[in-house]
């Protein structure tokens, strides 16, 4: 998903957006020049100094556009301002990275100075000390600060602060874009590897299973032999299940899965999942809570079974022995919200979002259990594919509840 900021982004590969920035920066400088000239026309000596500052601003604009967006912008900007405007000292504060970048000779602590400007929102110029302070804003949002000491004018300081804001924004947009691209590529690679691995496993698994069950079917095995053959068979079954699950996740991730959307009656679906989990739920109390008599959702039945199985299985794994698992489904506006509540260790806030990521296993010992760390990511993918969402709430008194909201009517999806 692209947000507004990215639409304005400064992706180097796109000439169009690069031109847009260039234009924006030059318009800014041009306006400033007109403004300065209008004020300076009366005084010839002042005009010469103004002209020099305008040329410096022009140079600064040009150099910020050539900045290396792969490196932090703060140090580069501080250096540029210091060099081009020939100042005694410069400090740039990047609020997002929470870093102050001082250049030149400072008597007072530039760290404190720059941060105070940001936190107290002070933008002013002190002619006595030659100190200029500016909050760096993107639109109205403060994103850092600039403190300079030396021979500049308030107007020039304003212009520098604006250009720094644009440079910060370009850097963020670029970083965001490359991060998303990297994530996408990594995910793609993962899916491909998983898919080919899972496929490569199928044939040997089939041969092993056919061989072990073949031995069994031929009979004439001693009890001990039969037991070993049964063990091979059972373990092959486990490996086959795992392979199938890997394959399914790989396909879900790659968006290669076909969604067989059809109206599904929710109550019998949940009952079916609970029945299929049979033994694992034996030690738990299970409560079904479906307030409306008939809840129907348009979805891929098998995928929804996967999602609910994962939620309920997860609840079994992590809840206190003998406690109650409550499974709920209700219509909220245009969605059916499924929830599975159980009582066990509280999921730390930091884990709540990432718990749905593939391979993420909580770092908290108490919340660990056996598993591959794949399951919840499948649940998330299933919900996303249906245009829905997943989330989790967790605290001591209310227990842990996993939610999945699925739109009642399937959207026409192009995959």
């Amino acid at each position: 998903m692209l947000d507004n900021r990215l639409n304005l982004s400064f992706i180097p590969s796109s000439y169009e957006s690069a031109n847009a920035v260039m234009l924006l920066a030059f318009v800014l400088v041009a306006l400033l020049i007109i403004f300065i000239l209008a004020h300076a026309r009366s005084n010839a000596r002042e005009a010469a100094s103004w002209r020099a500052q305008v040329l410096d601003l022009h140079e600064f604009t040009r150099r910020t556009l050539e900045m290396n967006l792969r490196l932090e912008p703060g140090p580069q900007l501080a250096d540029l301002v210091h060099d081009i405007f020939a100042l005694e000292a410069v400090a740039v504060f990047d609020a997002e990275l929470h870093q102050v970048y001082p250049v030149g000779h400072w008597k007072a602590d530039p760290q404190e100075l720059a941060q105070n400007v940001y936190y107290f929102g002070t933008s002013d110029d002190d002619p006595k000390t030659g100190l200029g302070r500016r909050v760096v804003r993107l639109g109205t949002v403060p994103i850092g600060s600039l403190v300079v000491r030396g021979n500049t004018s308030p107007l020039t300081n304003n212009a520098i602060a604006s250009l720094i804001a644009i440079a910060f924004d370009r850097y963020r947009a670029f970083a965001n874009e490359s991060r998303m691209e990297t994530e996408r590529r990594t995910e793609q690679l993962r899916s491909t590897v998983l898919d080919s691995l899972a496929h490569a496993y199928k044939t040997p698994l089939t041969a092993i299973r056919a061989a072990s069950t073949g031995l069994g079917a031929m009979g004439s095995l001693s009890a001990a032999q039969a037991e070993l053959v049964a063990l091979i068979d059972e373990q092959t079954g486990l490996l086959a299940d795992l392979t199938t699950r890997l394959l399914t996740t790989a396909r879900l991730d790659a968006g290669e899965v076909t969604v067989h959307a059809a109206p599904v009656d929710v109550a019998p679906l949940i009952e079916e999942v609970v029945t299929s989990l049979g033994d694992r739920l034996a030690s738990m109390k299970v409560e079904l809570d479906i307030p409306e008599e008939r809840v129907v959702v348009e979805c891929d039945r098998q995928m929804l079974v996967m999602l609910l199985t994962q939620y309920i299985d997860n609840a079994c794994k992590y809840s206190i022995f003998g406690s109650t698992i409550t499974i709920r489904a209700e219509k909220v506006h245009a969605e059916i919200v499924f929830s599975v509540r159980s009582f066990g260790p509280v999921i730390p806030i930091n884990d709540r979002e990432r718990i749905f990521d593939r391979y993420y296993r909580s770092t908290t010992r108490a919340s660990r259990a056996s598993g591959t760390g794949i399951g919840l990511s499948v649940a998330k993918r299933v919900a996303l594919i249906h245009g829905g969402s997943v989330w989790v709430t967790s605290d001591e008194t209310e227990g842990t509840t996993f939610f999945a909201a699925i739109p009642v009517t399937a959207r026409r999806r192009v995959s």
Partner: protein
């Protein structure tokens, strides 16, 4: 009673699978010829003499589906079992609609494969059942003429559509019937997509004929594909519990 052994043509490009299937099938009295390509299979079939084909779906060359199409042109009644993988439900449905008798999903157990082979062959070898003859499977008895169903000799009250579904499934017992085929048979071709509708009926039907509708033994689901009424043979074998399957002994003594 001596029966001629079942001759199997096994078509799979993976030699490991051919090597795993051949010894137990041979040991259990089947005659097995194996080939690795659809093209070879068609050549072998032209010479004739096979009772059943085990056909892998994913093969290089013309592939399983095209091979099936050509087999059907060559031998319309020859039983063909497809060897498929999970997550390939559309392939399964396609194969069934092209006239495959059944499929097994890799990795399958030998018992399952053998049961499927026997069911398919039995169907062809058995004398055609008179259409109006009652069907008895396990403890269920369905009379197509009187349109009556009994379970443990107690009458089961079914609606018209429920009866039609049951009739369609029981008269093809042991064989998977795709959703589309069942819907077409009972409601007509216009309704071939109404799977959820069918599900509602099947749920009602299970409540009436199964001891535990959540764990059916008669009316089984083939996920994504369709429904299958349990093979009558499974109930006969259950009665003979600890004894080895009778026809296995018979064939091994050959």
């Amino acid at each position: 009673m001596m029966q001629t052994p079942i001759r199997i043509l096994l078509v799979d490009d993976e030699s490991a699978i051919r090597r795993a299937l051949r010894p137990p099938l041979t040991e259990l009295g089947f005659q097995v010829v194996d080939v690795s390509r659809g093209e070879e299979a068609l050549q072998m079939l032209r010479a004739g003499g096979f009772d059943v084909v085990l056909l892998d779906v994913n093969m290089p060359g013309i592939g399983g589906i095209e091979t099936l199409r050509r087999i059907r042109a060559l031998a319309p009644r020859l039983p063909v079992l497809m060897l498929t993988v999970r997550d390939a439900e559309e392939e399964k449905v396609e194969a069934l609609e092209l006239g495959a008798d059944d499929y097994v999903t890799k990795p399958f157990s030998m018992r399952e494969l053998i049961a499927r082979i026997r069911t398919a062959v039995r169907r062809v070898r058995a004398p055609a059942r008179a259409e109006d003859a009652p069907i008895v499977i396990g403890e269920l008895r369905l009379d197509p003429v009187k349109r009556k169903v009994t379970r443990r000799d107690q009458p089961v009250h079914l609606t018209r559509k429920e009866f039609d579904i049951l009739l369609c499934l029981m008269s093809h017992a042991g064989r998977v019937i795709t959703y589309a085929r069942l819907l077409t048979a009972v409601w007509g071709a216009d309704c071939r997509e109404e799977v959820e509708y069918l599900r509602t009926f099947v749920r009602q039907l299970r409540k009436k004929i199964e001891d535990d509708p959540a764990n059916p033994v008669y009316l089984l689901t083939d996920v994504y594909v369709g429904y299958r009424f349990a093979d009558p043979q499974t109930f006969i074998e259950e009665i003979a519990e600890d004894m080895p399957p009778p026809d296995v002994n018979e064939e091994m003594s050959n």
